[in-house]
């Protein structure tokens, strides 16, 4: 067990940088929400963003797939690259980017359609399936990756909104992975779930790490410690500390990180 742990670490350090952000600033109107954030997020790793409410961790997450574009007053400057390509380059179409960078939201938000259609929607609009058999296969694969296939395989025509909260969230994860993304962003995916559903989703996140670069925003420090290899601590729009998860939680460099982890601020 210990060996595997070290192997993991070793593998990780070799891994390439998937997302690299330099000097990222975000303004919401006059509010300076993200102040000069630099971060390098590795491939095939779970990176957790922690910090008190309103510290900018979700805002930063939404920069990575340009969801902030949909907010009129939001302005993003700085440099964010995925595989070395500037995602804020004028030539980049955010729609194409979002197929590559999937997102799972805080509240499970399945479409009010059948389970099948929920998962099939992304592949359909991106033209990933040539025919119905292809699409069936993609849907099954995505639902298996979302660890929900066994629970829903007999009722793919049932509405996605009729599932329990934890199942809905796993359905949303299946929907996000159906478009074959390379990065998976998760914005507090377990905050609306009970502990059992949370455990299932966390287990799933650990599986997903083998294929994707996963970035997860969480309020639960225990969750960050359980699922992530790297942790970034945000405070008041600044990235205070970024490093290996076990180091952040056992031996933080910055006094603010220590205060937050020990429960003195936040």
């Amino acid at each position: 067990m210990e060996d595997m742990y070290h192997m993991d670490r070793a593998m990780m350090t070799q891994q390439d940088t998937k997302i690299s952000a330099k000097g990222v600033q975000v303004y919401y109107g006059d509010t300076h929400a993200i102040k000069d954030v630099d971060v390098e997020i590795a491939d095939k790793t779970v990176t957790a963003f922690i910090g008190p409410s309103g510290c900018g961790k979700s805002t930063f997450l939404r920069c990575i797939n340009r969801m902030n574009d949909t907010i009129d007053v939001a302005r993003v400057s700085g440099d964010i690259r995925i595989d070395g390509e500037d995602i804020y380059d004028p030539r980049v179409d955010p729609v194409q980017l979002r197929a590559k960078v999937g997102m799972v939201f805080q509240k499970p938000n399945p479409f009010p359609k059948s389970i099948y259609d929920n998962v099939a929607y992304g592949p359909k609009i991106h033209g990933l399936a040539r025919n119905k058999a292809d699409l069936d296969e993609i849907v099954e694969k995505a639902l298996r990756r979302g660890a929900i296939w066994d629970e829903v395989k007999d009722r793919l025509d049932a509405p996605g909104t009729g599932l329990s909260g934890g199942q809905q969230q796993r359905l949303c994860i299946a929907r996000a992975v159906a478009t074959e993304p390379e990065v998976l962003l998760m914005d507090e995916p377990c905050s609306a779930l009970d502990p059992i559903a949370t455990a299932q989703v966390e287990e799933l996140i650990d599986d997903l790490r083998q294929r994707y670069s996963v970035v997860i925003v969480t309020h639960s420090m225990q969750q960050a410690a359980r699922v992530s290899q790297k942790t970034a601590f945000f405070h008041l729009g600044n990235l205070v500390e970024f490093g290996d998860t076990d180091k952040i939680f056992t031996n933080p460099e910055d006094p603010r990180t220590e205060s937050y982890i020990s429960g003195r601020i936040g």
């Binding site: 969801m67 729609v95 194409q96 939201f105 938000n109 479409f111 929607y121 992304g122 909104t161």
Partner: protein
């Protein structure tokens, strides 16, 4: 040890209400009473309104007919002898009236009824509309000439009124158009089964009639005109309104310009409808030279009037779709337009449909703008949906609410029941539209 000041009051038992609680309970009870009183008043007003309309108007759906054999003499109706329509058309309704009188006199003689009335007075039992009815059926089928046919002819307004309780023997004595003897003759004919009162489809299908013959007046042209206008409104206002709302709600940047537009749309919804009539008169008739009195112009004016209603309700429906659905769609890489058309619009559809139907219902009941564009005209001809000369919906028509307005201005008391009957018809159409709106909302409403 305690920091609370000792007020010296004895401990209050929970079993006794204190003064404050009593006061609050009383206020609550008063408020409930006000609410109930308001609702009762409103319901009472509605009940009075409806019962008066129904009491006045339901008789419009029944009509008195006289059944007589009419000898269609060939030498009187067709001097050519070869059923040449051009020659036959020279015989006016006056010629036919004589035949009807003959038929009625025969019927009276056959039944053995004695009357002191002159032949001319007896003829007033039959509506002035009846000769035209017979003439039309003869011209439509010339081979009838020479035969003696049984016709159900409209009784005159006074006789009809007598069987609906509007005319009495006392009022007939003072009436220049009828007499107590005429009514007694009618009673005798009714006893013979020659006069019957039954359901009157003509009220819904016949065109309007002139001042002297309320018994013949119907809503056919008005219903057709209203229908054409609703089609114009539906096919213009729905797409334009929904497209405008989608753009404003989902795509338009939020800046000073869109704010100005938003405020102006809200203001337009409050503009008095007659102003739209003036606008329509100036633009569609005087400037664009569309036909006056045509359902096309009426529909365009009502479209302008309905647009703000549809836009406001559509925007409200779009706003009520949770943003998480938009996020979900964008998150899997749908474009803005895909997220709107695949996800937001289907969820907003029930609200949009409801808003549209309520807008249409509002347009259906609108009178003022139609008066200004000439739809108040007296129209006898059914308007065609399309003709070479007048174009689409270009023939003169009138509309249901305008017909009500029109009939309430006529002198003959027979038009009172017609106007109320038209109101009932209009209300039934509105109820149907609202029921459809509720049905659609229930059917398509989805939970998320």
């Amino acid at each position: 040890m305690t920091d609370f000041p000792n007020t010296g009051q004895p401990r209050q038992s929970l079993l006794n209400l204190d003064d404050r609680t009593k006061k609050r309970n009383a206020a609550e009870a008063r408020f409930k009473a006000y609410g109930i009183a308001a609702i009762v008043t409103a319901m009472l007003a509605l009940a009075i309104l409806l019962s008066s309309v129904v009491a006045n108007g339901s008789s419009a759906f029944r009509q008195t007919f006289i059944t007589i054999d009419v000898p269609l003499d060939a030498d009187k109706l067709d001097k050519s002898g070869v059923r040449d329509l051009d020659v036959m058309k020279k015989v006016t309704t006056i010629g036919y009236a004589k035949l009807l009188r003959e038929g009625l006199l025969n019927a009276i003689t056959d039944a053995g009824i004695d009357t002191s009335l002159s032949d001319k007075e007896i003829a007033t039992l039959i509506s002035k509309e009846a000769p035209a009815t017979v003439r039309n059926s003869v011209l439509a089928n010339p081979s009838l000439v020479g035969e003696t046919l049984t016709f159900d002819l409209l009784a005159s307004g006074r006789i009809d009124g007598y069987y609906k309780g509007r005319v009495t023997l006392e009022s007939a004595a003072l009436d220049g158009n009828t007499s107590p003897e005429a009514l007694m003759l009618a009673d005798a004919l009714k006893a013979e089964g020659l006069i019957t009162t039954r359901f009157n489809w003509n009220f819904l299908t016949a065109p309007d009639a002139s001042d002297q013959r309320p018994e013949a007046a119907g809503l056919g042209v008005a219903i057709l005109g209203s229908l054409y206008m609703m089609l114009v409104v539906l096919f213009l206002a729905l797409p334009i309104g929904v497209a405008a709302s989608i753009y404003l709600e989902e795509f338009a940047p939020k800046n000073r310009w869109t704010d100005v537009i938003e405020v102006n749309i809200s203001n337009l919804a409050a503009v008095p409808s007659i102003v739209y009539g003036i606008l329509g008169l100036a633009i569609f008739i005087n400037f664009m030279h569309f036909n006056q009195s045509s359902p096309l112009v009426g529909g365009l004016v009502l479209t302008l009037m309905t647009l703000p209603t549809i836009i406001i309700s559509t925007r409200a429906a779009l706003k009520s779709v949770p943003p998480s659905i938009r996020d979900a769609a964008l998150g899997v890489g749908a474009s803005k337009m895909q997220s709107v058309f695949h996800h937001v619009l289907p969820l907003a559809a029930p609200g949009i449909l409801t808003g549209t139907i309520i807008g249409l219902a509002q347009a259906l009941g609108e009178t003022a703008p139609l008066l200004l564009i000439g739809m108040v005209a007296f129209v006898r001809e059914y308007p065609a949906a399309y003709t070479e000369n007048a174009g689409l919906f270009g023939e003169a028509a009138t509309a249901l609410p305008v017909q009500v307005y029109n009939w309430t201005q006529r002198a003959d008391p027979g038009f009172v029941e017609r106007a109320s009957g038209a109101i009932i018809t209009l209300l039934v159409f509105l109820l149907i539209m609202n029921a459809v709106a509720i049905f659609l909302r229930r059917k398509f409403e989805r939970r998320w």
